[in-house]
Amino acid sequence: MTAVSSTLLTPRLTAVVAHNWKLAIAVAVVVSAISMAGLPAAVSFWVVGAAAALVAAAFTVNAYRRHYFGALLVAPAIAVLFVMNIFPLLWSLGLSFFAYQANQQTIRFVGLGNYVRILTNDLAAHATWGALINTAMFVVFTVSAQMIVGFLLAILFAKQFPLRKYLLILVLTPMMLSVVASGVFFTYYYDPTFGILSYVINSISGNQFILMSNKVGAVAGIVFADAWMWSPFVMLLVLAGLVSVPKYLYEAAAIDRISSWRQFWMITFPYIRGLLMLALLFRTIEAFKLADLVILLTKGGNDTLTISYHLIRIANEQNKTSEGAAISYLMLFMVIVLTNLYLYLANRRTKGA
């Protein structure tokens, strides 16, 4: 009944009632425009904020009177999402079309200039593509290392053996350490003077061994450290899949005298495939964002600069804010394409099975 009366009332723009959201929007737009034009920025900021709150309040009252309780219940979550995620995302998208540096108070519209620059300028594009190729390389190496090691560990820990519980905790420790702690640990581990790695190899070969002095060594060092930290994560996921396989399937297979290789492909693998794919997705996205270990171990030296670290340097250190925004949109685009490609493939497989 109230719903009907409300629908009758809302079109009247001039009616001063709590749920007249159209009037609220009109008032908010006018007040905001006037305050932004006439008041100092520090004051107009709050006026605009209050106007936005007025519109939100009108919407809430309107929704309440119309008994849109579902919408009201999700509204706070959507509000937080908008304020914390969507607004900054759109703001940085806008910024990527301007020439703006955070430490200089000037701004100028350049259209697609930043994108053109990071993709075609012979200096900037060279850095971008180099970083992207390195990132792709790290994604392939770190993810495959983690998948293989994590999978093997999971197979091992799916069996019962003495001290299993304690060993499991030990294997999980690297994942719980802070990346910085691990990074510093590996810096010393690889150090040619103080590190144990060079110490052992030196005493065998007799020559000075320096792991991080070329690209192969530096990449191997970073991949090893990353795999050391994140293989346990893959293991946990796969292990969850392994223990969920019903025992009776194996018993039936044993009665049919099926080889363990076939048992794995026919029984185990279908159960863990979904989780393996999930681990692959998580680790691929994370590996795409790799920056912390690179900063700690090489500072991007020996051609190990990744796109994330490149972005940090452009946006945070060199204060080229809008160019950084353009790079992050390039990254976002790539992650979205990759993720959708992955989901498409995963879905097709599931349907085929």
Partner: protein, 477 residues
């Protein structure tokens, strides 16, 4: 209303909101004034805070609190930069690396202090008693003009750290003399007289393998002659390369027309290339970590303290740790001298060197009451008595009457090299694009240091980049 002013307005509004959110940090009652300060975490700033807590009594009668944020060196720039550009307006006082002046003055964050100096004869006298090299590098923007922004907090130069037990050993002395027909520098005076050739000889001479003898003792680990920063982070190779480029008569930019001169032909001039090649030649005598491009000032300092090298060139600011037996295996074997220079055909040594150290600067949002207290604090800090105490506790002073006092050289073993080093100190670019110049240059130097390209390619690449940057900034056609 243009898009530009709109964004500016919103940015200001956002920063205002941030200030309110941070709360009363910058607000204090008339009797109690809080000065919030961002400083790097190392002895010179720890000592300052300690002195302040123990001794400082403001003349105004107010209670002054110094709220100090100690930030680790490797993160220092990033943290300060983030704080300033985000507009949170948290700090009143910032210990700023000298090269940052341009970047943050242009952004409107650092306050010009000419009015404060002119209004206060005592402060003016203190600033005028400063060594001109230090004053120019730490205070002026554009460089060497009478526009002042900073008060020296901790002045610093590069000096040679040496190990007496190795350098003064009779067997080593004799073997060195036989091999190079010159004396192995052993005392402070001999190190002062050392040029790069001798330094290189020291490096070559002391390369020892595990099992070899060093000063009569069998080594249980490899030993190296020399160490000198050559790392990819921050300015950890720039400081050394600049020194060599300048000493060979090259340049890092066209100083006659800076910042509007061209980079091509200056940055990659034959003399600059010669200087860079000279630096690269020394690397093969340094500990193997140099080949990874991560031998920064902290790594070379640690190698020296662990007793792995005979000589290290490093900032005085890191010296305290090598004196302390708890952190240094060579604490009782130290000798200090000037950093080496390039001996010309006439026998004169050119020692032009990259200056270190930091000024503190005031930020533009500091209130008049805070400024009054800040000036009081700075005057106290630069007063001869406190400067003497600071030097005695391991700091340095750039005030003439303090460092020329005969007492000064007795405070710390490196102080004998301090006053003599000041005259030839020079700074890198103080321009808003400083960090772009620095990171690109560091990347290129790293490629040369790790043996991926030669000096000429390196400097050609840097010149090309700088030319492009200057064009984009509208400084050249």
């Amino acid at each position: 209303m243009t898009a530009m002013t709109k964004v500016k307005g919103l940015a200001t509004a956002a920063s205002f909101a941030a200030t309110l959110l941070v709360g009363g940090v910058t607000y204090a009652s008339a009797e109690e004034v809080t000065l919030t300060m961002a400083v790097p975490d190392w002895p010179p700033t720890r000592i300052m805070k300690k002195f302040f807590d123990e001794q400082y009594k403001p003349k105004s009668g107010n209670t002054v609190k110094l709220d100090v944020d100690f930030i680790p060196w490797p993160d220092f720039y990033t943290r300060v930069n983030a704080s300033l550009t985000s507009g949170e307006k948290k700090y009143n006082f910032i210990v700023s690396d000298s090269q940052w002046l341009g970047a943050f003055v242009e952004g409107g964050y650092f306050r010009k202090i000419n009015d404060l100096i002119d209004a206060d004869p005592e402060l003016k006298a203190a600033m005028e008693s400063m060594h001109p090299a230090v004053l120019n590098a730490y205070s002026t923007y554009p460089n060497s003009t009478p526009n002042y922004y900073g008060f020296p907090q901790f002045p610093d130069v590069l000096v040679t750290y040496g190990r007496k037990d190795v350098l003064c050993n009779d067997d080593e002395q004799a073997a060195f003399k036989a091999k190079y027909n010159e004396k192995l520098p052993c005392t402070g005076e001999e190190i002062d007289a050392m040029d790069w050739n001798t330094f290189e000889h020291v490096g070559e001479f002391f390369q020892r393998k595990k099992g070899d003898k060093l000063a009569g003792q069998v080594l249980d680990d490899d030993f190296y002659g020399i160490a000198y920063q050559a790392g990819k982070g921050y300015d950890f190779s720039t400081s050394s390369v600049h020194t060599f480029v300048w000493q060979h008569g090259g340049g890092i930019w066209d100083e006659t027309k800076a910042p509007t001169g061209h980079a091509e032909g200056v940055v990659n001039s034959p003399k600059s290339i010669e200087g860079m090649e000279h630096f690269l030649k020394l690397l093969k005598y340094m500990p193997p970590v140099v080949k990874t491009g991560t031998m920064d000032i902290f790594v070379s300092d640690q190698l020296f303290r662990e007793g792995k090298v005979a000589m290290n060139i490093d900032w005085i600011g890191l010296g305290e740790a090598s004196l302390d037996p708890k952190t240094s295996k060579v604490a009782d074997k130290l000798v200090f001298g000037l950093a080496p220079g390039l001996r010309g055909p006439d026998g004169k040594v050119n020692r032009t060197s990259q200056i270190g150290g930091q000024p503190f600067v005031l930020t533009t949002w500091t209130t008049p009451e805070q400024i009054k207290e800040a000036v009081g604090f700075v005057k106290w800090w630069l007063s001869p008595d406190i400067q003497h105490q600071f030097a005695a506790a391991g700091g340095q002073s750039a005030i003439k009457s303090v460092y020329s006092d005969p007492k000064y050289v007795t405070y710390r073993p490196w102080d004998r090299a301090w006053a003599n080093s000041l005259d030839w100190q020079k700074d890198m670019w103080h321009v808003p694009q400083f960090f772009e110049l620095l990171t690109q240059q560091q990347d290129q130097y790293d490629l040369a240091i790790t043996g991926k390209q030669d000096a000429k390619t390196t400097l050609d690449n840097i010149a090309k980049f700088q030319e492009d940057l200057l064009k984009n900034a509208g400084l050249i056609q």
